[in-house]
Amino acid sequence: MRETAGERWGRRIVLTLLTLFVVIPLYVMVTSAAKPLQDVQNGFTWWPSRPTLQPFIDMWSTVPLARYLVNSLVVSSIAAICSVAVAIFAAFAVSRYRFRGRGVFSVTVLSTQMFPGILFLLPLFLIYVNLGNATGIELYASRTGLVITYLTFSLPFSIWMLVGYFDSIPRGLDEAAQVDGAGPLRTLFQVILPAAVPGVVAVTVYAFMTAWGEVLFASVMTDEGSRTLAVGLQGYSTQFNVYWNQIMAASLVVSIPVVVGFLALQRYFVAGLTAGAVK
């Protein structure tokens, strides 16, 4: 099927406009991170008057960025690993067993994803605070509380995507393993998981991204010691100065790992979406 001239030009125009829309903010982020402070305090410039890497050095001392970074790394990594571990077992049950409550479980878990975050925020805040007062288990303003909260945020989508992956693995493999005398858990770990590695990796990255980018609960459930990047990055605007060059440098640094991870694994996300939603 040949492309007509009109279609070709239409495609070029659409792609050019979309590219400009996407690229301009990214361009500003990257170039402004290399600007000296006076460039971002006066009128906007397309190019740094004097390109410098100073913002990447100064950003660590203007706010305790290293602490925020460590907090975000710890919280997001643990939340991602736990979320995927829990999701693997749940997805295995949903994919390989038929049991009473299977449909209810799937629907309930997925629908919680659609509920307003603000609905959980106030009660969860009170539960964490009161639990701390009553039992001494510090969940409010602690990284543990954030980990538990975040891991449930990514859980539904992780389960859903892994079910799609597990479903695509032929059951003949399970049966072969059982003939060899493998129990259900050995089947899961030695047959199904090795075949679903891309799915598991994609889900891990997704869970990490969810925790890494969360703002609402981070802004309420943390204090100075447990603050994550999502809230900490707003500290660059002091009353006298907004260090836009350092903000852009810090934004760039905290974005690169998740963007690279997501883009490297994008085809597995597409595959997961195709396996689940589109069928």
């Binding site: 099927m1 792609l15 590219t19 829309f21 996407v22 903010p25 990214l26 500003v28 982020m29 402004s32 971002v40 305090q41 009128g43 906007f44 049950a93 390989r96 067993y97 038929r98 299977r102 449909g103 799937s106 629907v107 878990v109 997925l110 994803q113 307003p116 975050g117 603000i118 609905l119 925020l121 106030l122 009660p123 009170l126 539960i127 007062n133 909260t149 449930t152 945020f153 859980l155 539904p156 059951r171 049966e175 969810t210 980018g213 703002v215 609402l216 999502a230 990055l233 707003q234 934004s251 760039l252 974005s255 963007v259 883009l263 994008q266 597409v270 979406l273 689940g276 939603a277 589109v278």
Partner: protein, 330 residues
């Protein structure tokens, strides 16, 4: 945010459970076997109960209490006042009720426009990238980048672009193109709504693109060949092949995007620095601000529950209507 990154679909799961192809390889035999799936699910169920279900129930309970700042520390002392919080916050003659209604309309307009534009950009990109050409993989990755960025990094960058004196937008509009004499404010006043909308579309459209791209991979190429042989031009093929084939994806995608944007908190919170101007006072941020400003969690919970009920009704109506239409077609 809880509702931020997912495309799950309750509706689509049901047929799967019943379809014969999905018959599990092994039926549970004996009591030990039949317990196993529940044990496997237990961690997920416990977590969902602890973080989603129980807080939701507690939230409904809180909305019936006079849970003001005097009772926050020890909420067992808060008196039960029935539906009083609902009456106070939803009373459209009171100041609080008027503000809530205002916020509701803003949010509705914001969601509908944002979903519409995100879908439009998503389908355009998915369609023009359908056919292979040099550089397609790079463009695809580039288009997904706004979605991969942490939301705060993306929105902070936009708030820099939109600064009145130091931002790119005014530099281009006022200094370079000379379209305006005055430098407009983009983050306060009437313009703030449109700023919020643009940022939200920038961030959300790649998700629509991702889903629609996945959907297009399932459209057999022969359909286009056949349509082309019949003399169908670009628009005709789009209307008669692409869009009908994408219908299942669109049904889910539009609902999910709508629910996300309606509950959106992150974009205004970061864009406007912890608050929101009246013209861009989305409902999540409205509830958040009124709860933590006055520490009246009772009325905050009442508004949250009302929001949830509204969204449940909208979702149910949407699913009913779209299902009925599907039956009509069959």
């Amino acid at each position: 945010m809880a509702t931020s990154t997912t495309a799950p679909d309750a509706d689509q799961r049901e047929p799967r459970a019943g379809s014969p192809a999905r018959e599990p390889a092994r039926r549970p035999r004996g009591p030990r076997r039949s317990l196993l799936p529940y044990l496997l699910l237990a961690p997920a169920v416990v977590l969902e109960l602890a973080i989603h279900v129980i807080p939701m129930v507690v939230g409904v309970w809180m909305s019936l209490l006079e849970l003001t700042q005097f009772h926050i520390r020890d909420w067992s002392t808060a008196p039960f006042i029935g539906l009083e919080n609902y009456r106070a916050t939803l009373d459209l003659n009171s100041a609080a009720g008027k503000e809530l209604l205002h916020s509701f309309w803003i949010t509705l307009a914001y969601s509908l426009l944002s979903v519409g534009f995100a879908w439009l950009l998503g389908i355009s990109a998915a369609v023009v990238l359908q056919r292979p050409f040099r550089g397609r993989a790079i463009l695809r990755a580039l288009f997904l980048t706004p979605y991969a960025l942490p939301v705060y990094a993306a929105v902070i960058t936009w708030s820099f672009l939109l600064q009145r004196d130091t931002g790119l937008v005014n530099h281009v509009l006022v200094d370079q193109l000379g379209l305006m004499n005055e430098r407009p404010f983009w983050l306060i006043g009437d313009n703030s709504f449109w700023s919020l909308l643009v940022v939200s579309v920038w961030r959300n459209w790649p998700f629509a693109f991702l889903c629609l791209m996945a959907g297009l991979q399932n459209v057999p190429g022969e359909l286009y060949e056949a349509a082309a042989i019949d003399g169908a031009g670009f628009w005709r093929r789009l209307r008669s092949v692409t869009l009908p084939m994408l219908r299942p994806v669109n049904l889910v995608l539009l609902l999910v995007l709508f629910l996300w944007t309606f509950n959106d908190f992150n974009t205004p919170f970061v864009l406007f620095g912890g608050s929101a101007p009246e013209q861009a006072d989305l409902i999540s941020i409205h509830i958040y601000r009124s709860s933590f400003k006055t520490w009246d969690f009772g009325s905050g919970s009442a508004m949250s529950v009302a929001l949830l009920l509204f969204l449940l009704v909208v979702s149910a109506a949407y699913l009913l209507i779209t299902n009925r239409r599907r039956d009509d077609h069959a």
